[in-house]
């Protein structure tokens, strides 16, 4: 019954999306003004129905209803509860249902609260959101029905890929999707503004909180995904330039650029066409990512099912949505009048650099991700990894970070370096100092060296906008900016430090033997078998001491799952304030020795703390913006009330 209810809710939601599009178009073209009133309620209903369908799927997974094909294929009655829950989105159909749910809810949220824009623009925006949604509803209902029945019911389920049975990963997809799909709102706003030719500060101010919201989730999702890859894969790295990672990075880069150009448009009414373009590009990158990940043209833990029909379907959706949006942009860009002008040395100028550099990095990542696919079509099998991405990205990242130190100090419209020059002495001194200290260290690569020096300078420079400010009067959005930029410095320092100072050791030891890695002494006590609810494992018991201090037990495992049969390594991490000890248990050598792979990674955790700081900065800015908007609306209402009472 639940499955049928879910399917019915999904069909109804799709029908409402069609109605939302139709009513919006009719109202906009003047053939049904009466319909204008139903667009918002329909959008809200559509979102709620999609949510109901998603809840139905969750119920099916929690109850392990094996008469539903998707549950039988991806779940198992012996699985822990949390993974039954997470299993509902840990597969192709379920994750696409999550996609349309987020998309429907985002549209519903916009329809419910957004009152700042002129009504025609809102109608066009909600119609645009409905248009994109319909495509994904069709995809779900025609080629990826999550509620398909299995007759007869399976006696037992197939289980969930053990790599995905991890608490961090249980919440990684929903977080990432809130960001990924949340960007559809920016896309729809851009479409709406293009249709009604209402590109201006009001549009930017209305769009900015939505972009911020999506961007916060995207930032957290990427950070969580990176930490998962770091400890779950057992390879010691935290970013592999895997196409799947790139698929999440590309929308983030576009959204970051969009966020900054939105600021210019809102404050100074400049970069108008460019901001609209970025709104289109950001969600386009989400869709490109989905195509790469879900079409089966890549093999990865994310490519759940290889089905050419699905790939073609997403490709068609991609072509229609992106092609349509770009055509609309080409037709209307000429009518978007030029914004206010500004000098090269100005806040706007710095933000242009930010935007151009982020776009260039986006281009670099996109090229590197698509190149293997193009090459394969021409008969060559290649893969593209860090030797391409790291230096190529750095070429554009370094100038961007240099400008980031100055940009927030510059005034809008026109400024001079001589005015801000003095304030930059402190960061410059710190950067030179860092360079001096590092120069004494041998064997540091060029990129980590630049990274640490830049991080040192940026850490101070990012705090400068707070100088000479009354802290209590500093707007939250400024605190947010400072936190996010400081977070960039923190994350950059973590990345550079991990790359420059990591110590790795690969040994085979007997029980009772000890080894050293960096400042750590690690002794293998013994190796014992342990069992979990759906796995058995060999667990290494090790005692680790930092510089001869207290001993701490750590227990890395080599796990064997039986549904489906698969092995995973569970690395053991020991975190100190200044880094992490990372231990992986390998196989047993013939003579009773056990393979151990150990790393000491100084300050590696700063990578993710930096990511959290960046997201926190976004959150502060979001709260600040929304609060000031609310204050303004309340003030306006008060004035209106007063006028009314005076009029009487």
């Amino acid at each position: 019954m639940i499955a049928e209810f879910g399917l019915a809710a999904l069909w109804l939601a799709a029908a409402l999306a069609a109605l939302q599009l139709l009513a919006g178009v009719l109202a906009l073209t003047g053939r049904g003004e009466a319909l204008a009133g139903i667009v918002r309620p329909v959008a809200v209903m559509q979102g709620l129905l999609a949510l109901a369908a998603f809840f139905a799927l969750i119920l099916l997974f929690i109850g392990t209803d094996l008469s539903v094909k998707l549950v039988a294929m991806n779940s198992h009655s012996a699985k822990p509860f949390i993974y039954k829950l997470a299993g509902s989105w840990g597969n192709h159909e379920g994750s696409m249902l999550l996609w349309v749910t987020v998309m429907g809810l985002a549209g519903a949220f916009v329809a419910f609260v957004e009152r700042r824009l002129p009504e025609p623009t809102m109608l066009a925006t909600l119609a645009g959101q409905a248009f994109v949604s319909i495509g994904f509803y069709a995809f779900l209902l025609m080629s990826s029905n999550p509620f398909e029945r299995l007759d007869p019911a399976a006696p037992e389920g197939n289980g969930l890929n053990p790599l995905l049975q991890d608490i961090g990963l249980a919440f990684h997809p929903p977080t990432l999707y809130l960001g990924y799909v949340g960007l559809s709102v920016a896309f729809s706003f851009a479409i709406g503004a293009l249709i009604t030719r209402q590109v201006g500060p009001a549009f930017a101010k209305a769009m900015r909180p939505w972009v911020l919201g999506a961007w916060i989730f995207l930032t957290l999702g990427i950070a969580a995904g990176s930490y998962w890859a770091y400890y779950e894969l057992g390879w010691g790295g935290w970013w592999f330039w895997d196409p799947v990672e790139n698929a999440s990075l590309m929308p983030w880069l576009a959204a970051t650029a969009l966020l900054h150009s939105c600021g210019v448009l809102a404050a100074r009414n400049a970069l108008r066409a460019w901001t609209v373009m970025l709104g289109v590009v950001a969600f386009s990158m989400s869709m490109v990512g989905t195509f790469l990940v879900r079409s089966g043209i890549l093999t990865s833990v994310h490519a759940f099912a290889v089905d050419p029909e699905r790939g073609s379907f997403i490709l068609a959706l991609l072509a229609i949505n992106i092609g349509g949006a770009l055509t609309l942009f080409a037709l209307r860009a000429g009518t978007v009048t030029e914004g206010k002008r500004f000098a090269v040395v100005s806040r706007e100028g710095a933000l242009v650099v930010n935007n151009v550099m982020l776009s260039a990095i986006l281009g670099i990542v996109l090229f590197g991700t698509l190149y293997p696919l193009v090459a394969e079509a021409m008969g060559a099998k290649v893969s593209v990894g860090p030797p391409y991405f790291n230096p190529m990205g750095a070429i554009f990242l370094v100038p961007m970070l240099l400008v980031l130190m100055v940009g927030p100090l510059l005034r809008w419209r026109r400024d001079s370096f001589s005015r801000v020059g003095k304030r930059l002495i402190l960061p410059a001194v710190l950067a030179v100092l860092a360079a001096g200290v590092l120069a004494g260290w041998s064997g540091i690569g060029v990129l980590p060296f630049i990274g640490i020096v830049l991080a040192a300078g940026l850490a101070i420079a990012s705090l400068l906008p707070l100088r000479e400010r009354n802290f209590r009067r500093t707007p939250l959005s400024v605190w947010g900016m400072v936190a996010a930029h400081f977070g960039v410095a923190v994350a950059l320092f973590g990345m550079a430090s991990e790359s420059a100072f990591s110590v790795e050791k690969l040994v085979a030891v007997r029980a009772g033997e000890a080894t050293e890695v960096g400042p750590w002494q690690v002794k293998l006590v013994n190796v014992e078998p342990v069992a979990g609810p759906n796995w058995t494992a060999l667990e290494g018991v090790l005692s680790a001491s930092y510089q001869g201090g207290d001993e701490t037990r750590i227990r890395p495992q080599a796990r064997s799952f039986w549904t489906p049969p698969q092995q995973t390594t569970e690395s053991a991490l020991l975190t100190r304030w200044n880094g992490q000890l990372y231990v992986v248990l390998g196989g047993e050598a013939d003579d009773g020795r056990w393979q151990l792979r150990l790393w000491w990674k100084p300050f590696v955790t700063l990578i993710w703390y930096g990511g959290i700081l960046i997201a926190l900065g976004g959150l502060l800015a979001l709260i600040g913006r929304v609060a000031s908007d609310v204050r303004r609306i309340v003030a306006r209402e008060k004035i209106a009330d007063r006028r009314e009472s005076q009029g009487r």
Partner: protein, 151 residues
Amino acid sequence: MAAIKPKHQRLVLLVIALAALLAAALLAMWALRSQASYFYVPSEIVADPPEADRAVRLGGMVETGSIETEADGVTMRFVVGDGTARVPVRFSGIAPSLFVEGSGVVAEGKLASDGTFIADNLLAKHDENYVPRELQDMNEHQVSQVVAETQ
């Protein structure tokens, strides 16, 4: 820094942005040609070996009886073959659990001057659903042939 004629600012911005993106595209193409890591099967490595310092990937079947562990307990040597050619491989590290003789493997690394492939990383089959892409294709064309010859 000379002030830009304000009249043409939009055009100038556009040109700068396009120039930067074009530069990025050209750089990317150049770097991709020199940095992309190509996939080889043993017969290709033997016929036309890659330059000594170039990162490449080697895919094939681990020959039965060829895995040997060195005295340090973490370095192993084995031979990867495709039925026509054989390439000796050296790998230091923890091998994936499904890395066994007679099954497919993709090794990432470099070819040393003595003809040994120095692997930094081994990719083996995870399970039926997660097979390295190159091995998937090989299963179709080559595996049956390889298996027939080794048996």
